[in-house]
Symmetry: C2
Amino acid sequence: MLYFATGNKNKFQEAKRILAAEGVTIRHFSFSHTEIRSDRLEEIAVDAAAAAYARLKKPVFVEDSGLFIDALRGFPGTYSAWTEGKLGYRGILKLMKGIRNRKAYFGTTIALATSKGIRIFRGRCNGRMALRANGKQGFGYDPIFVPAGHRQTFAQSISLKNKLSHRYKSLLALVRHLKNMRIRL
Amino acid sequence: MLYFATGNKNKFQEAKRILAAEGVTIRHFSFSHTEIRSDRLEEIAVDAAAAAYARLKKPVFVEDSGLFIDALRGFPGTYSAWTEGKLGYRGILKLMKGIRNRKAYFGTTIALATSKGIRIFRGRCNGRMALRANGKQGFGYDPIFVPAGHRQTFAQSISLKNKLSHRYKSLLALVRHLKNMRIRL
Protein backbone atom coordinates (compact mmCIF):
# COMPACT_ATOMS: atom_id res chain seq x y z
CA MET A 1 0.00 0.00 0.00
CA LEU A 2 1.14 3.51 -0.87
CA TYR A 3 0.47 6.44 1.45
CA PHE A 4 0.14 10.14 0.68
CA ALA A 5 1.23 12.20 3.68
CA THR A 6 -0.52 15.55 3.76
CA GLY A 7 -2.40 17.75 6.16
CA ASN A 8 -4.62 18.86 3.26
CA LYS A 9 -7.63 16.61 2.64
CA ASN A 10 -8.44 18.26 -0.71
CA LYS A 11 -4.99 17.47 -2.02
CA PHE A 12 -5.47 13.88 -0.95
CA GLN A 13 -8.86 13.52 -2.67
CA GLU A 14 -7.52 15.03 -5.89
CA ALA A 15 -4.49 12.72 -5.92
CA LYS A 16 -6.62 9.68 -5.05
CA ARG A 17 -8.91 10.33 -8.02
CA ILE A 18 -6.04 10.86 -10.48
CA LEU A 19 -4.10 7.81 -9.30
CA ALA A 20 -7.19 5.57 -9.19
CA ALA A 21 -7.66 6.26 -12.92
CA GLU A 22 -4.15 4.85 -13.39
CA GLY A 23 -4.84 1.79 -11.28
CA VAL A 24 -2.93 2.99 -8.22
CA THR A 25 -4.66 2.99 -4.85
CA ILE A 26 -3.46 5.32 -2.11
CA ARG A 27 -4.25 5.85 1.52
CA HIS A 28 -4.19 9.04 3.50
CA PHE A 29 -1.47 9.48 6.11
CA SER A 30 -2.70 12.44 8.16
CA PHE A 31 0.57 14.04 8.95
CA SER A 32 1.58 17.15 10.78
CA HIS A 33 5.20 18.11 10.34
CA THR A 34 7.12 21.33 10.90
CA GLU A 35 8.33 22.16 7.42
CA ILE A 36 11.78 23.49 6.83
CA ARG A 37 12.29 26.90 5.32
CA SER A 38 13.69 26.75 1.83
CA ASP A 39 13.50 28.37 -1.60
CA ARG A 40 13.42 24.95 -3.22
CA LEU A 41 10.39 22.66 -3.43
CA GLU A 42 12.76 19.66 -3.53
CA GLU A 43 14.36 20.40 -0.18
CA ILE A 44 11.00 20.84 1.53
CA ALA A 45 9.52 17.67 -0.01
CA VAL A 46 12.56 15.49 0.72
CA ASP A 47 12.68 16.63 4.35
CA ALA A 48 8.95 15.96 4.81
CA ALA A 49 9.06 12.57 3.04
CA ALA A 50 11.94 11.43 5.24
CA ALA A 51 10.02 12.49 8.35
CA ALA A 52 6.85 10.75 7.16
CA TYR A 53 8.71 7.53 6.37
CA ALA A 54 10.46 7.57 9.76
CA ARG A 55 7.04 7.73 11.39
CA LEU A 56 5.12 5.34 9.12
CA LYS A 57 7.78 2.84 7.96
CA LYS A 58 5.78 2.21 4.79
CA PRO A 59 6.06 3.65 1.25
CA VAL A 60 4.83 7.22 1.45
CA PHE A 61 4.96 10.35 -0.68
CA VAL A 62 4.54 14.06 -0.04
CA GLU A 63 4.15 16.94 -2.46
CA ASP A 64 5.00 20.61 -2.40
CA SER A 65 3.81 23.13 -4.99
CA GLY A 66 4.31 26.78 -5.79
CA LEU A 67 3.78 29.59 -8.27
CA PHE A 68 7.02 31.14 -9.53
CA ILE A 69 6.72 34.54 -11.19
CA ASP A 70 9.63 35.56 -13.38
CA ALA A 71 9.46 39.34 -12.88
CA LEU A 72 9.20 38.86 -9.09
CA ARG A 73 12.34 36.67 -8.92
CA GLY A 74 10.30 33.57 -8.28
CA PHE A 75 7.95 35.10 -5.69
CA PRO A 76 5.78 33.69 -4.09
CA GLY A 77 7.49 30.35 -4.81
CA THR A 78 7.62 27.91 -1.94
CA TYR A 79 5.62 30.42 0.14
CA SER A 80 2.70 30.49 -2.32
CA ALA A 81 -0.02 29.12 -0.07
CA TRP A 82 1.07 31.32 2.83
CA THR A 83 1.25 34.41 0.62
CA GLU A 84 -2.17 33.67 -0.86
CA GLY A 85 -3.60 33.60 2.65
CA LYS A 86 -2.10 37.03 3.37
CA LEU A 87 -2.45 38.90 0.07
CA GLY A 88 -4.88 36.83 -1.99
CA TYR A 89 -4.46 36.71 -5.77
CA ARG A 90 -5.41 40.39 -5.77
CA GLY A 91 -2.12 41.18 -4.03
CA ILE A 92 -0.24 39.43 -6.83
CA LEU A 93 -2.21 41.36 -9.47
CA LYS A 94 -1.28 44.58 -7.67
CA LEU A 95 2.40 43.64 -7.56
CA MET A 96 2.29 42.82 -11.29
CA LYS A 97 0.63 46.11 -12.25
CA GLY A 98 2.60 47.83 -15.02
CA ILE A 99 5.00 44.89 -15.41
CA ARG A 100 5.26 43.68 -19.01
CA ASN A 101 7.06 40.39 -18.36
CA ARG A 102 4.12 38.22 -17.24
CA LYS A 103 5.92 34.86 -17.42
CA ALA A 104 5.31 32.42 -14.58
CA TYR A 105 5.05 28.73 -13.88
CA PHE A 106 3.41 26.42 -11.41
CA GLY A 107 5.71 23.69 -10.10
CA THR A 108 5.11 20.58 -8.04
CA THR A 109 7.66 18.27 -6.53
CA ILE A 110 6.72 14.87 -5.18
CA ALA A 111 9.14 13.02 -2.90
CA LEU A 112 8.54 9.28 -2.57
CA ALA A 113 10.16 7.55 0.39
CA THR A 114 10.53 3.79 0.43
CA SER A 115 12.96 1.34 2.07
CA LYS A 116 15.26 2.09 -0.89
CA GLY A 117 15.50 5.80 -0.19
CA ILE A 118 13.88 8.90 -1.62
CA ARG A 119 12.99 9.66 -5.23
CA ILE A 120 11.81 12.94 -6.73
CA PHE A 121 9.13 13.53 -9.41
CA ARG A 122 8.43 16.91 -10.89
CA GLY A 123 5.56 18.53 -12.70
CA ARG A 124 5.56 21.97 -14.24
CA CYS A 125 3.04 24.12 -16.06
CA ASN A 126 4.36 27.18 -17.87
CA GLY A 127 2.15 30.16 -18.42
CA ARG A 128 1.63 33.82 -17.69
CA MET A 129 -0.02 36.06 -15.15
CA ALA A 130 -3.32 37.47 -16.44
CA LEU A 131 -3.85 41.24 -16.48
CA ARG A 132 -7.06 40.80 -14.48
CA ALA A 133 -8.84 37.99 -12.64
CA ASN A 134 -11.15 35.71 -14.62
CA GLY A 135 -13.19 32.65 -13.70
CA LYS A 136 -14.58 31.16 -10.52
CA GLN A 137 -13.42 27.53 -10.56
CA GLY A 138 -10.40 26.06 -8.78
CA PHE A 139 -8.74 27.93 -5.93
CA GLY A 140 -5.70 29.99 -4.98
CA TYR A 141 -4.07 31.74 -7.93
CA ASP A 142 -6.21 29.96 -10.56
CA PRO A 143 -8.13 33.15 -11.56
CA ILE A 144 -4.91 34.92 -12.59
CA PHE A 145 -2.89 32.11 -14.22
CA VAL A 146 -3.14 31.44 -17.98
CA PRO A 147 -1.35 28.27 -19.14
CA ALA A 148 0.99 28.61 -22.15
CA GLY A 149 -0.78 28.24 -25.50
CA HIS A 150 -4.18 29.11 -24.05
CA ARG A 151 -6.27 32.21 -23.47
CA GLN A 152 -8.31 31.19 -20.46
CA THR A 153 -7.26 31.12 -16.83
CA PHE A 154 -7.27 27.89 -14.84
CA ALA A 155 -10.33 29.26 -13.02
CA GLN A 156 -12.22 29.62 -16.33
CA SER A 157 -11.64 26.00 -17.32
CA ILE A 158 -11.09 23.42 -14.64
CA SER A 159 -10.91 20.67 -17.28
CA LEU A 160 -7.98 22.51 -18.85
CA LYS A 161 -6.36 22.77 -15.44
CA ASN A 162 -6.83 19.08 -14.74
CA LYS A 163 -5.09 18.17 -18.00
CA LEU A 164 -2.22 20.66 -17.77
CA SER A 165 -1.62 21.03 -14.09
CA HIS A 166 1.78 20.71 -12.48
CA ARG A 167 0.25 18.48 -9.79
CA TYR A 168 -1.28 16.14 -12.38
CA LYS A 169 2.00 15.86 -14.28
CA SER A 170 3.98 15.09 -11.13
CA LEU A 171 1.49 12.36 -10.17
CA LEU A 172 1.78 10.84 -13.66
CA ALA A 173 5.56 10.81 -13.31
CA LEU A 174 5.13 8.98 -10.01
CA VAL A 175 2.80 6.44 -11.64
CA ARG A 176 5.22 5.83 -14.51
CA HIS A 177 7.95 5.10 -12.01
CA LEU A 178 5.80 2.69 -10.01
CA LYS A 179 4.83 0.84 -13.20
CA ASN A 180 8.38 0.74 -14.59
CA MET A 181 9.72 -0.54 -11.33
CA ARG A 182 6.82 -2.97 -11.08
CA ILE A 183 6.71 -1.93 -7.47
CA ARG A 184 4.01 -3.75 -5.55
CA LEU A 185 2.88 -1.50 -2.79
CA MET B 1 31.15 33.96 27.76
CA LEU B 2 27.95 34.62 25.83
CA TYR B 3 27.65 33.74 22.14
CA PHE B 4 25.42 35.20 19.45
CA ALA B 5 24.64 32.57 16.81
CA THR B 6 23.95 34.18 13.46
CA GLY B 7 24.97 33.80 9.85
CA ASN B 8 24.72 37.59 9.49
CA LYS B 9 27.92 39.46 10.42
CA ASN B 10 26.19 42.86 10.38
CA LYS B 11 23.69 41.70 12.96
CA PHE B 12 26.55 40.48 15.11
CA GLN B 13 28.48 43.77 14.91
CA GLU B 14 25.36 45.78 15.75
CA ALA B 15 24.56 43.58 18.77
CA LYS B 16 28.16 43.62 19.94
CA ARG B 17 28.24 47.42 19.96
CA ILE B 18 24.92 47.75 21.80
CA LEU B 19 25.79 45.11 24.40
CA ALA B 20 29.33 46.44 24.95
CA ALA B 21 27.79 49.79 25.99
CA GLU B 22 25.94 47.81 28.68
CA GLY B 23 29.06 46.00 29.83
CA VAL B 24 28.21 42.70 28.16
CA THR B 25 30.79 41.08 25.89
CA ILE B 26 29.66 38.65 23.22
CA ARG B 27 31.36 36.36 20.75
CA HIS B 28 30.23 35.34 17.31
CA PHE B 29 29.12 31.77 16.77
CA SER B 30 29.07 31.43 13.00
CA PHE B 31 26.12 29.16 12.60
CA SER B 32 24.32 27.70 9.67
CA HIS B 33 21.01 26.07 10.50
CA THR B 34 17.99 25.10 8.43
CA GLU B 35 15.27 27.26 9.90
CA ILE B 36 11.80 25.93 10.47
CA ARG B 37 8.85 27.44 8.71
CA SER B 38 6.57 29.32 11.03
CA ASP B 39 4.40 32.42 11.30
CA ARG B 40 5.82 33.11 14.75
CA LEU B 41 9.21 34.65 15.49
CA GLU B 42 9.25 32.79 18.82
CA GLU B 43 9.03 29.34 17.26
CA ILE B 44 11.81 30.06 14.80
CA ALA B 45 14.09 31.57 17.45
CA VAL B 46 13.51 28.80 20.01
CA ASP B 47 14.22 26.09 17.44
CA ALA B 48 17.42 27.80 16.29
CA ALA B 49 18.62 28.51 19.85
CA ALA B 50 18.12 24.87 20.83
CA ALA B 51 20.09 23.76 17.76
CA ALA B 52 22.89 26.26 18.48
CA TYR B 53 23.13 25.19 22.12
CA ALA B 54 23.21 21.50 21.14
CA ARG B 55 26.18 22.28 18.92
CA LEU B 56 28.05 24.75 21.16
CA LYS B 57 27.17 23.62 24.71
CA LYS B 58 27.68 27.19 25.93
CA PRO B 59 25.24 30.05 26.59
CA VAL B 60 24.10 31.28 23.22
CA PHE B 61 21.33 33.45 21.79
CA VAL B 62 19.73 33.88 18.39
CA GLU B 63 17.36 36.53 17.12
CA ASP B 64 14.63 36.68 14.51
CA SER B 65 12.96 39.85 13.30
CA GLY B 66 10.16 40.86 10.99
CA LEU B 67 7.91 43.63 9.75
CA PHE B 68 4.21 42.99 10.40
CA ILE B 69 1.77 45.09 8.37
CA ASP B 70 -1.76 45.28 9.75
CA ALA B 71 -3.66 45.67 6.47
CA LEU B 72 -1.70 42.76 4.94
CA ARG B 73 -2.56 40.38 7.82
CA GLY B 74 0.98 40.52 9.16
CA PHE B 75 2.74 40.14 5.81
CA PRO B 76 5.74 39.91 5.31
CA GLY B 77 6.21 38.86 8.95
CA THR B 78 8.69 36.08 9.54
CA TYR B 79 9.45 36.08 5.80
CA SER B 80 10.49 39.75 5.77
CA ALA B 81 14.11 39.33 4.71
CA TRP B 82 13.18 36.80 2.02
CA THR B 83 10.37 39.00 0.72
CA GLU B 84 12.64 42.06 0.67
CA GLY B 85 15.07 40.11 -1.52
CA LYS B 86 12.27 39.29 -3.95
CA LEU B 87 10.12 42.44 -4.01
CA GLY B 88 12.25 45.13 -2.34
CA TYR B 89 10.55 47.83 -0.28
CA ARG B 90 9.05 49.05 -3.55
CA GLY B 91 6.94 45.89 -3.72
CA ILE B 92 5.53 46.66 -0.28
CA LEU B 93 4.75 50.26 -1.32
CA LYS B 94 2.92 48.86 -4.34
CA LEU B 95 0.91 46.44 -2.21
CA MET B 96 0.00 49.29 0.15
CA LYS B 97 -1.14 51.64 -2.61
CA GLY B 98 -4.64 52.95 -1.89
CA ILE B 99 -4.76 51.31 1.55
CA ARG B 100 -5.66 53.74 4.32
CA ASN B 101 -4.74 51.60 7.31
CA ARG B 102 -0.95 52.06 7.32
CA LYS B 103 -0.32 50.53 10.78
CA ALA B 104 2.67 48.21 11.11
CA TYR B 105 5.30 47.14 13.58
CA PHE B 106 8.78 45.73 13.60
CA GLY B 107 9.27 42.86 16.02
CA THR B 108 12.33 41.02 17.27
CA THR B 109 12.47 37.89 19.36
CA ILE B 110 15.67 36.78 21.05
CA ALA B 111 15.95 33.22 22.35
CA LEU B 112 18.67 32.63 24.92
CA ALA B 113 19.72 29.02 25.50
CA THR B 114 21.68 28.06 28.61
CA SER B 115 22.03 24.91 30.70
CA LYS B 116 18.80 26.01 32.41
CA GLY B 117 16.74 25.99 29.22
CA ILE B 118 15.50 28.65 26.84
CA ARG B 119 14.27 32.15 27.61
CA ILE B 120 12.58 34.62 25.26
CA PHE B 121 13.06 38.40 25.05
CA ARG B 122 11.00 40.61 22.81
CA GLY B 123 11.37 44.04 21.29
CA ARG B 124 8.76 45.88 19.30
CA CYS B 125 8.55 49.18 17.47
CA ASN B 126 5.11 50.37 16.43
CA GLY B 127 4.71 52.68 13.48
CA ARG B 128 3.23 53.07 10.04
CA MET B 129 4.08 52.46 6.43
CA ALA B 130 5.07 55.68 4.65
CA LEU B 131 3.22 56.70 1.49
CA ARG B 132 6.53 56.94 -0.35
CA ALA B 133 10.16 56.03 0.29
CA ASN B 134 12.36 58.54 2.12
CA GLY B 135 15.97 58.48 3.30
CA LYS B 136 19.07 56.52 2.44
CA GLN B 137 20.37 55.21 5.77
CA GLY B 138 19.80 51.76 7.24
CA PHE B 139 18.66 48.87 5.07
CA GLY B 140 15.68 46.71 4.18
CA TYR B 141 12.34 48.38 4.83
CA ASP B 142 13.85 51.39 6.65
CA PRO B 143 12.94 53.89 3.86
CA ILE B 144 9.22 53.12 4.21
CA PHE B 145 8.80 52.70 7.99
CA VAL B 146 7.87 55.69 10.20
CA PRO B 147 8.00 54.96 13.96
CA ALA B 148 4.97 56.02 16.01
CA GLY B 149 5.10 59.60 17.22
CA HIS B 150 7.58 60.64 14.52
CA ARG B 151 7.46 61.96 10.98
CA GLN B 152 10.69 60.63 9.56
CA THR B 153 11.41 57.15 8.30
CA PHE B 154 14.12 55.00 9.91
CA ALA B 155 16.19 55.61 6.77
CA GLN B 156 16.01 59.39 7.34
CA SER B 157 17.31 59.18 10.88
CA ILE B 158 19.50 56.28 11.86
CA SER B 159 19.95 57.74 15.38
CA LEU B 160 16.17 57.58 15.79
CA LYS B 161 16.24 53.99 14.58
CA ASN B 162 19.01 53.05 17.00
CA LYS B 163 17.01 54.41 19.95
CA LEU B 164 13.62 53.00 18.99
CA SER B 165 14.42 49.81 17.17
CA HIS B 166 12.85 46.47 17.97
CA ARG B 167 16.30 44.87 17.89
CA TYR B 168 17.72 47.38 20.36
CA LYS B 169 14.80 46.86 22.75
CA SER B 170 15.10 43.09 22.64
CA LEU B 171 18.84 43.32 23.39
CA LEU B 172 18.14 45.61 26.35
CA ALA B 173 15.61 43.08 27.67
CA LEU B 174 18.30 40.41 27.38
CA VAL B 175 20.80 42.61 29.27
CA ARG B 176 18.29 43.31 32.06
CA HIS B 177 17.78 39.60 32.49
CA LEU B 178 21.50 38.88 32.63
CA LYS B 179 22.00 41.62 35.24
CA ASN B 180 19.00 40.57 37.36
CA MET B 181 20.09 36.98 37.33
CA ARG B 182 23.67 38.05 38.02
CA ILE B 183 24.58 35.48 35.44
CA ARG B 184 28.32 35.22 34.93
CA LEU B 185 28.91 34.17 31.38
